[in-house]
Subunit: 475 residues, 2 copies
């Protein structure tokens, strides 16, 4: 019996018009990446689980898609378990199944024996792995871009998919803040091309670190950062509740909230300096922000770029600048881009001392925002066909094919209706449905005279043309 | 301790130059696809295993990459097994583990409970699924192209990867042989652009079907096809051995070999017709081939397109024309493209009566052939940067940044060396390693005069230019 096919939850087909629109966005991003000297990299969809695990926190590990080993995937699991069971005094706590039963098989312990590969979760960890594996062939500073799908077994919801695309640009092997400035300018340029009004927010992790020291809670830095990161969703009161929960006293909480209140201040920098400038990291954070803005002035950005001290970003590997982009219009307020500087990303793969900074564009969210704001150019169509050749019978079909071929030699996208048995009205219906602008109908008269009727299907205008004319018209 | 990272077997990183070269091939293929009116489609990397299983033969099922269910992936397996074990008189032969032990867990039976998704194996089955799911929104004939990765857990070897790209163009909903002709012309055009000398071989499954009837072995059609498909590897004697094994007698074998001997005949068609023309399918196969060549003559193909009666192609769903492309030069003789007509592909998903025909380009094999034949344009570089701005200190850095920004406003790819502390020689070394052609060095003198030194790093030639000159040079 025929099966009714379906798609895995959280995944999507992209039909012709959608692909063209996605390509429109990708093209805008890639054009800017290349203009700033970034070089393309592509890594495999599958990585060793050992490469991925432990890089995205415990929650991230849960969201990794794991691929079952090829061949008899149970053999390793059974063998390991049996060996343990066979030995005397074996410590059974480390066995996937303490008594060899399926019921007591521990899913987490069993996993490494049945799955060694996973789908990539982001583009940053594969990039770090690539850098370490190719360290001898890479010229530093290395500016790479990467535009590929990533997969997360997250609960699907509006704007969140299980397969989605990231477009990353990173510079590694350079400490210069010029990189941060150029990356911010690239955000500015891409969103100007796409005509999405955006807020680009920047902060510096060093300020958050100084803040933690300032209130005498340096040991709670990550906890404070995670709390601040939730401000958008839970508000000041919510943040305060979390801060209390992780053990801050009233004075400490008040100081954090006072700091966060600076986010609405257009001249925040001197006030931040007054508060944290006496601490080494505070002074450094302020100097870095000031320098960054000096570069940005030279680069002449179009969109609003503002310091937002409440910007924290969840990822633990950021150590300097952090940045986030939000659309300023429409109903979709979630982040459409983000990034920052990291100093230790390649350490875990055995290559310390490489600093990097990067930004990421979320293709799927940008798409959703553009659709919401009706920003896709009207000229984007499912196909690029300029003209359809129609005909009546086998003789006129051959002439139509000849004309179609000669138009194509000029690089013009053209089609000939394939089936000889269809009526002209059916052929024109095909052209209309596909929004092809021109039709050329070949009858026996036209074959004799060598003069063909070219019809503009939108205006209805008709004109008589020769074969040569057909190849020279600006369709 | 730092881990030493590695890649899963059979997968590859593509560094900047490799990506540019792959894009060069993809771009040639896509340009032709679009010129012939094909529209892009993209389907998810993951499909339901129910969509994929049973479509590629038993061997194909083995080669599917399966993804472990999210959450506690063992729960369903244990629950099903326990239910069975708990019921009286339960037929334990259908349980994943007949006695509830890990040792007796049947890998094949357990699989559907722990994995419901798999990675796509080709682009044809996902396309058929898409057509069936979107049948009401699709205008027929539907011409779609799709250029995406596919995954097969095959034994890696030269030219065979576990993640590789296919570029497919298919027309569905039209029986016209004009489609076959245009698809063959597309092969012809793409390989002309890429300058790969190729042999395009065509055959018709109807002839093989007629041959089976002719020798009185219609029931052994697929067996005979599979044997013929192996001719390249095992020779005539090898084919004969297989034919004997599947039960053909001496006369039958001789007739098949006599038919196969026609492959070297430049005027094979009348001889095939003499042999098989009295059978309905034989006559039809010959008529179709003759008509196809008439269309091809009008389309004016450049590469050799020849009938090869020994072409069988393994896939069982082909029903009419079959085609295969091989490089005519170099050491890599395996197929770099193939396709054919299928009449029943959407049947299995509940949509009968849709005929289709398609071709596929194997990106990775085409890449290997082009590398082997040294066919990539010399102009392809890892990046597209035309000019690097160099400087001495913080003051000259700002001017360099300003100049770099003004060059970029003209769409010219430009870079500024990011770190202020490096010597000029270090900066020029960066330009040389990245094969950037021009360098512009900004000193305090240049800042004062507004005249900058532009150096061609290949010819060594130097000239004095203004800021405006810099934006107008043809780099």
């Amino acid at each position: 019996m025929a099966q009714k096919p379906s798609l895995p939850q959280g995944t999507r087909d992209f039909g012709p018009l959608t692909v063209q629109r996605r390509k429109y966005i990708l093209n805008a991003i890639e054009t800017v990446f290349k203009k700033y000297g970034f070089m393309p990299l592509e890594t495999p969809s599958m990585e060793q689980l050992s490469t991925l695990t432990g890089k995205y926190g415990e929650e991230g590990d849960q969201l990794l898609y794991k691929i079952i080993n090829s061949g008899n995937y149970l053999d390793k699991l059974v063998e390991y378990n049996e060996k343990g069971l066979g030995q005397e005094n074996e410590d059974t706590t480390f066995l996937p199944s303490v008594d060899g039963s399926l019921r007591n098989l521990d899913a987490k312990k069993a996993l490494p024996f049945i799955a060694e590969k996973g789908l990539r979760y982001d583009l940053t960890v594969p990039f770090a792995r690539y850098v370490v594996m190719n360290r001898n062939d890479i010229t530093l500073p290395f500016k790479r871009y990467q535009m590929q799908a990533v997969w997360r077994a997250d609960k699907p919801q509006k704007g969140r998919y299980r397969e989605f695309w990231q477009c990353d640009a990173d510079v590694i092997g350079s400490n210069s803040l010029l990189n941060e400035a150029e990356l911010l300018k690239m955000y500015d340029e891409v969103f100007s091309i796409l005509q999405i009004p955006v807020s680009i927010k920047i902060n510096n992790r060093k300020l958050l670190s100084a803040l933690a020291k300032y209130i005498g809670a340096a040991d709670k830095f990550m906890g404070i950062t995670v709390a601040i990161d939730k401000l958008d969703k839970i508000g000041m009161e919510g943040v305060k509740t979390i801060l209390e929960k992780i053990g801050l006293n009233q004075d400490q909480c008040d100081a954090v909230l006072k700091f966060l209140a600076l986010s609405k201040d257009p001249a925040a920098l001197p006030k931040i300096e007054a508060m944290l400038g006496h601490l080494e990291e505070g002074a450094l954070g302020c100097t870095e922000l000031a320098k960054l803005f000096a570069f940005l002035k030279t680069l002449n950005t179009q969109n609003q770029i503002q310091i937002d001290v409440t910007l924290a970003r969840g990822l633990s590997y950021y150590t300097g600048a952090i940045v986030e982009v939000q659309a300023n219009a429409g109903s979709l307020t979630s982040s459409i881009g983000g990034g920052g500087r990291y100093d230790n990303l390649t350490d875990i793969f055995g290559l310390p001392g490489i600093s990097g900074v990067g930004i990421s564009f979320g293709l799927d969210r940008i798409y959703d925002v553009m659709e919401d704001l009706n920003l896709f150019p009207e000229t984007l169509r499912a196909n690029e066909t300029k003209i359809l050749f129609c005909y009546f019978d086998e003789a006129t079909q051959l002439r139509a094919l000849e004309l179609c071929a000669s138009v194509r030699t000029k690089g013009i996208a053209a089609e000939i209706y394939p089936d000889v048995t269809k009526k002209i009205s059916k052929q024109l219906e095909y052209a209309n449905k596909l929004k092809i602008n021109y039709a050329c109908i070949i009858g026996s008269n036209e074959m004799e005279t060598g003069k063909y009727n070219l019809k503009n299907l939108i205006s209805g205008e008709q004109r008589e043309v020769s074969q040569e004319d057909l190849t020279q018209i600006a369709y």
